[in-house]
């Protein structure tokens, strides 16, 4: 069963958002999504300085078998992207909540987000 981290919030499109309020928040994709995608081999992230909008696509995640849109779970300016995961997208599979984080956003507005419990219940993850 894929892990769901209890300190994070989650979008219906399987992105996680670091829950702490102050400063830009980290964003990644859940282990549930990473496991379903398979081995991730390419990731296309929004540019630093660009604005992402909650619920809209902002990049792509490509696995050996398929490609999926990456949706912004929040609205705001992208302040940083994870160069490590661009260079080694397999980090999304091996450590989706840690070294596999994707980008950070200075949030102006949150999209509809779920608690870890709600997300795990809806998607069969394990808290």
């Amino acid at each position: 069963m894929s892990k769901v981290v209890s300190e994070l919030k989650y979008s219906a499109e399987h992105e996680w958002v670091a829950a702490d309020g102050a400063g830009p928040v980290g964003i990644g994709i859940s282990a549930v999504a990473a496991d379903a995608l398979g081995d991730i081999v390419y990731v296309d992230l929004p540019e630093v300085g660009s604005t992402v909008t909650a619920g809209e696509t902002c990049g792509e995640v490509e696995s050996t078998k398929s490609v999926s849109d990456l949706y912004a779970p929040v609205t705001g300016e992208v302040t940083e992207i994870n160069d490590g995961v661009v260079a080694d997208p397999a980090l999304i599979n091996s450590d989706p909540y840690g070294a596999g984080w994707l980008f950070k956003v200075a949030v102006t507005d949150e999209g509809p987000l779920m608690s870890a419990e709600e997300y795990a219940t809806a998607n069969g993850g394990e808290l």
Binding site: G38, D39, V41, Y42, D44, E60, E62, T64, K65, V67
Partner: protein, 377 residues
């Protein structure tokens, strides 16, 4: 569609497989990571359940002549013990399936169609057999098929074969088959062992009655443990066969394409003296130059960027639509995206740079010779 389960379904579940529907069968997609399984087959060995494939016996005095009529190749010319890749075509030259036929005796062939096509192929064979002294028997439901693929395949197999029969295995040529004793949990059974596969590696395919499939699967896993053998699913089977430039029915091959467009012209024996189903159409298609001077042909594409093309993506030249991708993935072995595509023949020369429309953005791909990957011998 009915869900079919192979005799090894419980083994796959226990091994933690995730499943996918393939041709009406619940098949293991992967056990751990498709990349790890892919690399295992290239570097050590992988174990595949291919029990969804069909098995049809063709026996009788006219077996060779009948297959010459029913299939595109000259099957009567195969030596006993050898196998041949062929096509079963429609009257219009469209491909009903690609399949392998093993000659098991003067009057005895085993024909192996693809999972989703097995029933269709068996029916077409039965229908085409009307004027021949031959029996067509579909035994797909009784036979399981297990493949060991990879550089360590031979060493693994030898552990289960009595010493006196080792030379049968070591001297078995590619595209040949032999009955050999294989130790399945303490009982040596005579099983049909073929040196064939769909991965671009050395390897074997073993035909086994359903009741013995689980025993053989376990015996192979045990024997292979020290040789890096891992169970391998359909996900890596697809990336392996794509690297090896092998067509997949439903992607590269269908009733809508013909052998010449698919690069399988040499599989069609227009020279055989007998008539065969599709001969007239295929002769006309060849004479017209389809796949060489007119129409489209199947090519290999190497991605010049990092993003992969996928099936059905449009292929462009200077913004004009000139073809369509049939299969595409990032190549785990080569480290760049690879794809196969049908493109207009005037843009099919090796070295031509084309664009693939990757969800609205054109990315450059270069036409390269197939296969993408060839193992060192």
């Amino acid at each position: 569609m009915t869900e079919n389960y192979t005799a090894l379904y419980d083994q796959h579940k226990t091994a933690g497989a995730s499943f996918t529907d393939f041709g009406g069968w619940q098949m293991p997609l992967k056990y751990t990571s498709e990349l790890a399984e892919h690399h295992a087959v290239r570097n050590t060995a992988g174990l595949f359940d291919l029990s969804h494939m069909g098995e049809v016996w063709v026996t009788g005095p006219d077996a060779g002549a009948f297959l010459d009529y029913a299939l595109a190749g000259k099957l009567s010319a195969i030596a006993v013990g050898k196998a041949k890749y062929s096509l079963i075509c429609d009257r219009d030259g469209g491909i009903i399936d690609d399949l392998i036929s093993y000659r098991r005796g003067e009057e005895k062939y085993l024909v192996v169609p693809n999972a989703g096509n097995a029933t269709k192929v068996a029916a077409a064979l039965a229908e085409r057999a009307a004027k021949f002294d031959v029996a067509v028997e579909d035994v797909s439901a009784e036979i399981s098929l297990i493949a060991v693929q990879g550089p360590n395949a031979e060493a693994i197999l030898l552990q289960l074969v009595p010493a006196g029969q080792h030379s049968l295995v070591t001297e078995l040529k590619y595209y040949a088959a032999v009955e050999v004793g294989i130790d399945v949990n303490g009982t040596v059974q005579d099983l049909l062992l073929a040196r064939t596969g769909y991965t671009g590696e050395d390897g074997f395919e073993i035909y086994v009655p359903n009741d013995d499939a689980a025993g053989l699967w376990g015996a192979l896993l045990n024997a292979g443990a020290v040789h890096g053998l891992v169970p391998a699913g359909l996900a890596c089977r697809d990336s392996l066969r794509l690297e090896a430039g092998m067509p997949l029915y439903g992607n590269e091959l269908s009733r809508q394409v013909n052998a010449y467009a698919a690069g399988l012209g040499p599989v069609v024996s227009l020279a055989k003296e007998s008539d065969f189903v599709g001969k007239e159409a295929l002769a006309a298609i060849k004479a017209a130059g389809v796949g060489s001077t007119i129409g489209q042909k199947l090519v290999g594409l190497k991605g010049l960027g990092r993003r992969a093309a996928r099936g059905h993506y449009p292929v462009l030249k200077d913004g004009m639509l000139i073809g369509e991708v049939t299969s595409g993935q990032p190549s785990p072995t080569l480290g760049y995206p690879v794809a196969m595509a049908y493109v207009d023949v005037e843009h099919s020369e090796v070295g031509t740079v084309l664009d693939v429309d990757l969800r609205g953005k054109a990315e450059p791909f270069e036409v390269v010779a197939l296969p993408f990957y060839k193992r060192a011998r």
